[in-house]
């Protein structure tokens, strides 16, 4: 049984090791993350499932450096593409959020500023650090020009523009007016690529004029604008209709392959996971209890909690009624000792309340944190 941790560096874009986090509230300290281990490979779409309150969103916020002031990281690392995110200074973190990490949230109504147009909320991204976007914008425009030149009736001014842009690319700087125009047309093209009808009009609209699904596409477009290395999608379909859900998910998948971004898809809905994810991590009460490749998990869930989750999904063929997991989510102010699932676990035995099981690779690329599969001998550290 190999010690379970993901490969060092290599083709991991994100690697979280033993991350511990707590919140200071007036009622006491809430132990939100209890030493989680997670990693995402480059270009991978990892699903993170769990019930509400298990710490999924907190994990995403921790990666993006957006934790509220009363949160305290008490241990562990978050390494994004070789950089330890937790050790970054605020300004460096901000730049990381600009260029490397993009986050999309659950309810696009409250996450878009109601008094600013969609366009201004997209344009301000490039205005924040114009230098970082010069290549993206110029290359986009150059591709456009190339297409037009080959087409019928090209605008005679194009070759001159092409020269100007190549020059800008070399010097890595753009004039203000040029920046604004390029940003605008780039943003509109992104709105088109997320399949919004009449993207030029959408650009000038206010958030309240759009439907939920459209707003969510706008959020995706905003994320794509930065061509991030890692995309954090926190329950992005929860507030949408089922039909729109499917569209958004497929859009996400397509964009992922276009830009080769890695995605952390947070959800409580197993159906979504089955639909689009490559691998999936199951989370419970601040711990990752199982990680596996999607089909593997559905075929062969190991952790009692995962089994319970899968059993509680209603099946279309009505072969049996869904079971529910007994008990309720623990209060993280005073979490259960040892393995946090033991009060609800049908298979719990004596060692479970005494210490936390460590993560073990039971099958190739299938990890589980449960004493049923090993870790009983003391040589595994008790975290």
């Amino acid at each position: 049984m190999s010690q379970a941790h993901t490969q060092e560096g290599g083709d991991d874009i994100l690697s979280i090791q033993e991350l511990k986090l707590k919140f200071h509230t007036y009622a006491g300290e809430v132990s939100a993350l209890d030493g989680i281990k997670l990693s995402i490979k480059k270009g991978e779409l990892l699903g993170l499932v769990g019930e509400s309150g298990c710490g999924k969103s907190v994990t995403a916020l921790a990666i993006a450096g957006l934790l509220p002031p009363n949160a305290e990281v008490t241990g562990g690392d978050v390494v994004l593409d070789g950089k330890n995110v937790l050790a970054l200074k605020p300004e460096e973190m901000r730049l990381a959020r600009l260029k490397d990490i993009a986050m999309i949230f659950q309810d696009p109504m409250t996450y878009l500023n109601p008094v600013l147009t969609i366009g201004s909320q997209m344009a301000e991204i490039t205005r924040a650090e114009p230098k970082l976007f010069v290549s993206t914008l110029v290359n986009y425009r150059l591709r456009q020009i190339d297409k037009q030149v080959e087409g019928t009736n090209p605008n005679p001014g194009l070759p001159a523009e092409r020269e100007r842009l190549r020059h800008a690319l070399e010097s890595q700087s753009l004039g203000r007016k040029e920046l604004n125009e390029l940003t605008r047309s780039y943003a509109i093209s992104l709105l088109r690529s997320v399949r919004l009808p009449e993207p030029e009009k959408v650009f000038e609209m206010y958030p309240f004029e759009l439907s939920g699904g459209m707003r969510q596409r706008v959020m995706i477009a905003m994320a794509m604008m930065r061509r991030p290395k890692l995309l954090l999608a926190d329950e992005i379909t929860t507030a949408l209709d089922v039909t729109v859900q499917a569209q958004i998910l497929h859009l996400l998948k397509d964009l992922r392959s276009e830009i080769n971004t890695s995605v952390l898809l947070i959800t409580h809905d197993l159906a979504i996971v089955a639909e689009v994810c490559d691998r999936v991590a199951v989370m419970y009460a601040g711990n990752i209890v199982e990680i596996a490749e999607v089909h593997e998990l559905f075929r062969n869930p190991l952790h009692p909690y995962s089994k319970g989750l899968l059993a509680s999904v209603p099946r279309a063929d009505l072969t049996r009624t869904p079971d529910s997991i007994e008990g309720s989510v623990p209060d993280l102010l005073s979490p259960p000792s040892g393995c946090r699932f033991h009060p609800r676990c049908p298979k719990a035995f004596e060692v479970c309340p005494s210490r936390k099981p460590s993560m073990i690779e039971v099958a190739p690329d299938h990890y589980v944190s449960c004493f049923l599969y090993g870790g009983l001998n003391g040589k595994n550290n008790n975290t």
Binding site: R94, R97, A102, Y111, N113
Partner: protein, 372 residues
């Protein structure tokens, strides 16, 4: 509803409020005071009784069947017109601007109340506008800093300042400023700033002989600029500092508190988290996102501020002997010049109601959600 419908509704409402206000003020004065007091601004004491009676009839307090002026003064039955009739006459006079002659001492009895009031009004307006500008200039940044540094030193300090301003008696603060800048800080035997009046000529920072100006508008600061008389302008500025600061410091509490609480609420919103997650500079987040949303509700407090300022100028004008309508109001109260007070109340009412209307319309224009 569309914008013009909204404006129309608000204007109608405004007219209604002013109308009702006039009824209220009429009843308070004419209804509770003897008709002879109500008549006083319209008659010249040297008139004969017959003359007084005919004026009493013209103003609508005495009936045409009243036999003599002494009967009227004794409130004989059948001599006094019913209150609602009096109101109609009164309203007519209001609308044509006939407020009778002033009863204020020291002014010739042939000066009309209207001209006395509006002769002094520009001074009060000047004071209030400068104070309003100062209030905004201090309160908004204070509120922002308080919100972005919540519960740390700047927040506590600004809360003390705004709460302090709210708790300070205006007359006391004015007196303290006088004490410091006129009595304590003296240069060459003169106080640093002038002790009274709208034009400072006897202070260390004053020009002792600023010359004259042409009264284009009646507002000294503007007139001085228009007349290109810089020493006069300077002397006017120097004189307005202390009273304006008194008004501003005591009025900024409300605005600071509203800006602060609005900013704090806005900064908790999800779109602020979103803005930060986009990697925007914190300054952009605070000003382009948070402030835009927070400041809008804050402007609705302007009407309240105007009310505060007009009321406050009564006190401040007395402390600084400022020649505005506030200080005159008190004298009017002493000599029972009811018309002056009525005029003051109605003018104040018009200003406040129009301010509220403007603010509401502005709000509708600036917030895209309301328009649709």
């Amino acid at each position: 509803m569309r914008l013009y419908e909204y404006v129309l509704r608000r204007i109608l409402f405004m007219v209604f409020v002013l109308f009702a206000l006039s009824v209220l003020i009429f009843y308070l004065t004419r209804g509770l005071l003897p008709p002879t007091t109500a008549l006083a601004p319209y008659i010249n004491p040297r008139l004969t009784d017959a003359g007084k009676l005919s004026i009493a009839r013209a103003v609508g307090v005495a009936t045409s069947s009243c036999p003599s002026f002494s009967d009227f003064a004794a409130l004989q039955n059948g001599c006094i017109t019913p209150l609602w009739t009096q109101y109609l006459y009164w309203l007519k006079n209001v609308l044509v601007g006939n407020w009778g002659y002033t009863l204020l001492p020291g002014i010739s009895g042939t000066e009309s109340t209207w001209s006395v009031f509006f002769g002094r009004f520009p001074y009060t307006a000047e004071l209030d506008i400068v104070a309003a500008a100062l209030t905004f200039l201090i309160a908004v940044p204070l509120g922002i800093i308080s919100a972005t540094h919540n519960n740390k030193a700047p927040d506590h300090l600004s809360r003390i300042v705004s709460l302090g301003g709210y708790s300070i008696p205006q007359f006391w603060f004015g007196a303290m400023l006088l004490l410091v800048f006129v009595l304590y800080v003296r240069i060459g035997g003169l106080g640093l700033l002038p002790a009274s009046g709208a034009l400072g000529t006897t202070c260390a920072l004053c020009f002792s002989n600023p010359g004259t100006i042409t009264a284009y508008t009646g507002v000294p600061l503007l007139d001085a600029l228009l007349s290109r008389n810089i020493p006069y302008f300077w002397d006017s500025v120097v004189a307005i500092i202390l009273p304006a600061m008194t008004l501003a410091i005591t009025s900024l509490g409300l605005l600071t508190r509203i800006v602060r609480s609005n900013m704090m609420e806005v900064l908790r919103q999800d779109y602020i988290t979103m803005a930060r997650s986009k990697g925007l500079k914190e300054r952009t987040v605070v000003y382009s996102h948070a402030l835009r949303n927070a400041i809008l509700p804050a402007i609705t407090v302007t009407g309240l501020l105007v009310t505060y300022l007009i009321g406050g100028s009564v006190i401040v004008e007395i402390v600084f002997s400022w020649p505005g309508v506030g200080s005159a109001a008190l004298v009017a109260a002493d000599v029972l010049d009811i018309n002056f007070l009525e005029l003051f109340v109605l003018v104040a009412g018009v200003i406040i109601v129009v301010t509220n209307l403007t603010v509401d319309i502005l709000y509708a224009v600036l917030d895209p959600r309301i328009r649709y």
